[in-house]
């Protein structure tokens, strides 16, 4: 029997103590309002917009659809973990460079989604990119610069790999 008695959540490699009263909240609410990790956003709370996308045990999900209690003992990674202190990840830099950010509300969710996607598919076609981000709504950009950012990031990643190989 596994009643939830552990009192912590593992988020971005850190153990956060949580209160029993939080178990019935959505993980999105807990991350934001309890743990002060405001990077994941709430734009629908229905799994229809992707702005709360996080990694749960290495799987891309919507945090609004995860019950905090059921996330105990699982490895949670949020937007806050994408960039090591002070520097941007490849995809974050690509977003900045491509002009893919306007209001920025959809941005964290997209970045987590794309990071996961490029891990799986390093040289995607345009349609593959669009299908991969079809669960992330953006109202400002029309997705054009976002798709461009993914292209830049995938090229940057494969270029780097090429260089590494050459070094050997």
């Amino acid at each position: 029997m596994s009643r939830v008695t552990q009192d912590h959540l593992s988020v971005n490699g850190t153990k956060f103590t949580i209160d029993d009263s939080w178990l019935g909240e959505s993980l999105l609410y807990t991350l934001r309002e309890r743990l002060g990790l405001y990077g994941s956003k709430n734009a629908c709370e229905q799994g229809e917009c992707g702005s709360c996308s996080i990694m749960l045990d290495e799987t891309l999900v919507c945090a609004c659809l995860v019950l905090t209690g059921s996330a105990i003992g699982r490895d949670i990674k949020t937007i806050e973990s994408l960039a090591p202190e002070g520097s941007l990840s490849v995809i974050q830099q690509a977003f900045v460079d491509a002009g893919a950010i306007q209001c920025g509300f959809c941005t964290p969710g997209l970045l987590v989604t794309i990071e996961d996607f490029l891990d799986d598919n390093a040289e995607p076609t345009e349609l593959e990119i669009r299908e991969a981000i079809s669960g992330n709504l953006c109202r400002c950009t029309g997705y054009g610069r976002i798709v461009e950012a993914v292209r830049i990031a995938s090229k940057a990643s494969t270029d780097t790999e090429g260089t590494a190989d050459d070094g050997n």
Partner: protein
């Protein structure tokens, strides 16, 4: 070209380059604070009780049970509004909290402040309102003569345009009635904010909005407080598109905070957000166009009804736009247009990007295609023949004195190469992963549309924006109340300062009410107005600098492109260097040239400037199932001058996507005054799979006289003719008439 490899983000620099957004990095790391990310020690959560009925009398409100719940700190109703229980963007006709009557489903009735949003929600569900449910007025056409549902009556505005000769006629007439459904701005960051009370009875409001000062004006009336006791600071905004121009939770938050003595935060969930802001006016439009055999338009007759919903918001101005631009970007010597903005028990409607021009453009462009067909003239040719030119008059009698490269906009787009035929990929076909459609079921269609948009406010509105440029020992700070909603004004501020002062490291003081109004972030006006104010404030610093140096050194310098050059030409100092060790404070208010009201015949120089755009849509249609895939949308736009290419492209791509949404996806479905799809499951925004690559054929830079840097506003034109272009393309593929947007599968398949 596709919008593009050529637009590389560079380091921050002057105007005309793709400078990086100063907030790009915090937005990329998730650290950028949106209004929903605010938090305060001792904070309470607010929530709103809303009417489920579109029309009802409130007999009694019993909140005793709710108030008794542990953790509930306050429940407020209409009688708790300290000042005037009325607000409104154009004039106050809407209750802060409904008193004895509710006029739309979603109208706020009571407020709760509690320790946790769940407790607040629980309390809301335990407030018992005794309603006498009434029959709602939901048909806009009958609203004109129906019993008034509001003391101000059901006609918010009735407008006539009587231009030229009403007896004129042409060789052919083409007539049609068109309908536009209710679109929603659906910005991603829902309404949110926090009010923090002070012991002296004042309050600080941190809020997402479009116009801090307009909000402030309405709040102080409702709270019965002087201006200096209600201070607004802009919190991070997650998009707006017109949906934040009206007050939503502003007064509510302040009331709860002042009543409880604690900070109060409120966030609308997506469902409540749909109920909590105004929508685009649904419209019914009849046109009769008269043209001659040679294709020249002779006269346009039109009747327009906009359903303004329960409260006035900006219905009056939206109607004016719809009517004034009823003939589109074309020369017409005669026009008889009649428009009504009416009140019903449907949800209130107001500003949405495009603001009235969207609705009539759909109808106008459909008519133009019909005329082309009736006369056997190519649709693009027809538009070129009738295109407005500088010096022409629009149907309000106003002469176009600025740039109007309409012909160039049209022909540059028409000349743009067509896309490749469809690749044989499931995702490239209508139906996508639904696997409904094989290549043999697909027919391709092309559609073309052109539009005009008036930039900035109209009809004599005294519009202005204030900016402060402050220099302290060479360090530059700029302050405006200009709201950044994502459009990139924050970048422009840096670019302007760098352009004028040569200083790249500036401080932008957060937008708040401690400085004068910047006006609304809407109407494609901020670059012109707030950009203009910043420009002038920086220039004023330079003037001051030159004066100061002249006094000190006795040398008169001239500003040559950011460098001060002495009269004799021997000494030069970059302005940035000259500023070191010096301090200045220049505050300016920037205004545009005056505009005037429309008279009883709809005549008057009511507008500041005009911008033109054209769109070409290519669609693949599976007619048997009525499924549409938009393959490409190409555009040319009249922009005056591009101040930041990558941001311009972003605005254009985003606006076109909203136009696509109205064409085939987005509609708030009403049933007897109640929204049926107030959620993202069923209010369908375009996803990345629905949105095609956007091709920019040409951005035509003909500087606009009177506009700072010659730059025209670019935010709205992309949303206007994109919708009719898509529908025209579907008509081309199917041969169907299609008089309504959004076009639904059944509209195609069952015809």
């Amino acid at each position: 070209m596709t919008a593009t490899e050529t637009y590389k983000i560079g380091a921050r620099s002057g105007v005309g380059v793709s400078s990086q957004r100063p907030d790009a990095v915090p937005k990329a790391t998730g650290e950028f604070p949106f209004s929903s990310d605010l938090s305060s020690h001792n904070m309470l959560w607010g929530k709103t009780l809303r009417s489920p009925y579109p029309s009802a009398r409130i007999r009694n409100i019993d909140y005793s049970e709710a108030l008794a719940i542990s953790g509930v700190h306050a429940i407020l109703t209409a009688s708790d509004v300290p000042g005037k229980n009325l607000f409104g963007l154009e004039h106050p006709d809407q209750p802060v909290l409904a008193d004895d009557i509710v006029r739309y489903a979603g109208e706020p009735i009571a407020l709760v402040a509690a320790e946790h949003p769940e407790i607040a929600a629980d309390a809301i569900s335990r407030i018992h309102v005794d309603f006498e449910v009434l029959n709602p007025l939901v048909d806009a056409e009958s609203a004109v003569t129906a019993d008034p549902i509001h003391p101000e009556g059901n006609v918010i505005r009735h407008l006539l345009i009587d231009y030229g000769d009403p007896t004129s006629s042409g060789d052919v007439t083409v007539e049609g009635t068109y309908e536009v459904g209710m679109q929603d701005q659906a910005f991603m960051g829902t309404e949110s904010g926090m009010a923090v009370p002070s012991p002296d009875g004042s309050v600080d409001l941190y809020i997402s909005t479009q116009w801090l000062h307009s909000d402030q004006n309405q709040i102080i009336e409702a709270l019965n407080l002087p201006e200096d006791m209600v201070r607004l600071t802009l919190a991070g905004v997650g998009g707006a598109f017109g949906g934040r121009e009206d007050v939503s939770m502003h007064v509510h938050l302040c009331m709860l905070a002042l009543h409880t003595g604690r900070p109060v935060k409120m966030i609308y969930d997506r469902n409540e957000s749909f109920l909590g802001h105004v929508h685009r006016h649904p419209a019914k439009i009849w046109y009769r166009h008269h043209a001659n055999k040679d294709g020249l338009l002779v006269k346009v007759e039109g009747k327009i009804i906009l359903d303004g919903g329960a409260y006035a918001s900006t219905t009056s101005a939206v109607l004016a736009n719809a009517c004034c631009f009823s003939t589109g970007p074309y020369k017409v010597d005669n026009a008889q247009i009649e428009g009504w903005g009416v009140r019903t028990n449907n949800p209130p409607c107001g500003a949405m990007r495009g603001f009235g021009n969207v609705q009539t453009c759909f109808a106008i462009e459909a008519q133009m295609d019909k005329i082309a067909s009736a006369l056997g003239i190519d649709p693009v040719e027809l538009r070129l023949k009738n295109a407005l030119e500088p010096g022409d008059q629009i149907i309000t009698g106003q002469k176009i004195t600025g740039a109007a490269p309409v012909k160039e906009v049209i022909s540059s787009l028409a000349d743009h190469p067509m896309p490749e035929p469809a690749i044989n990929d499931l995702l490239a076909r209508p139906g996508g992963t639904g696997r409904t459609t094989d290549q043999k079921h697909v027919k391709r269609g092309v559609g073309f549309a052109v539009s005009i948009k008036n930039l900035m406010f109209a009809e004599g509105f005294d519009d202005s924006s204030e900016a402060l440029c402050e220099v302290n020992d060479g360090s530059v700070a700029i302050h405006t109340a200009c709201v950044e909603v994502g459009q990139g004004f924050v970048t422009l501020v840096h670019q302007i300062a760098e352009e004028v002062l040569g200083v790249s490291d500036i401080t932008v003081i957060p937008a708040d009410t401690s400085i004068g109004s910047a006006g609304s972030t809407s109407a494609s006006r901020q670059t012109w107005m707030s950009g203009g104010a910043v420009l002038k404030a920086c220039e004023a610093v330079v003037v001051n600098l030159i004066e100061q140096i002249a006094k000190e050194e006795g040398i008169k310098y001239e500003n040559l492109d950011g460098t001060l050059v002495s009269e004799d030409g021997t000494k030069t100092i970059p302005i940035a260097e000259a500023l070191r060790g010096r301090s200045f404070q220049e505050k300016v208010v920037h205004r545009h040239a005056p505009t005037f009201p429309l008279d009883e015949k709809g005549q008057g120089n009511a507008h500041v400037s005009f911008a033109f755009a054209a769109h070409r849509a290519v669609v693949d249609v599976d007619q048997e199932l009525g499924l549409v895939r938009v393959v490409e949308i190409a555009t040319s736009q009249d922009v005056g001058r591009i101040l930041n290419p990558i941001q311009a492209v972003g605005q254009i791509e985003g606006g076109i996507t909203q136009g696509l949404g109205l064409a085939v996806l987005e509609e708030l479905v009403m049933k007897n005054g109640v929204i049926q799809n107030a959620n993202f499951t069923d209010y369908l925004l375009p996803t990345a799979l629905d949105t095609p690559p956007i091709e920019i054929a040409s951005l035509i830079e003909e500087p606009e006289p009177g506009a700072p840097f010659g730059a025209k506003g670019i935010g709205e034109p992309p949303t206007i003719s994109s919708t009719p272009a898509v529908v025209a393309a579907i008509r081309d593929a199917t041969g169907l008439d299609l008089r309504r947007v959004p076009v639904r599968p059944e509209d195609i398949a069952l015809e």
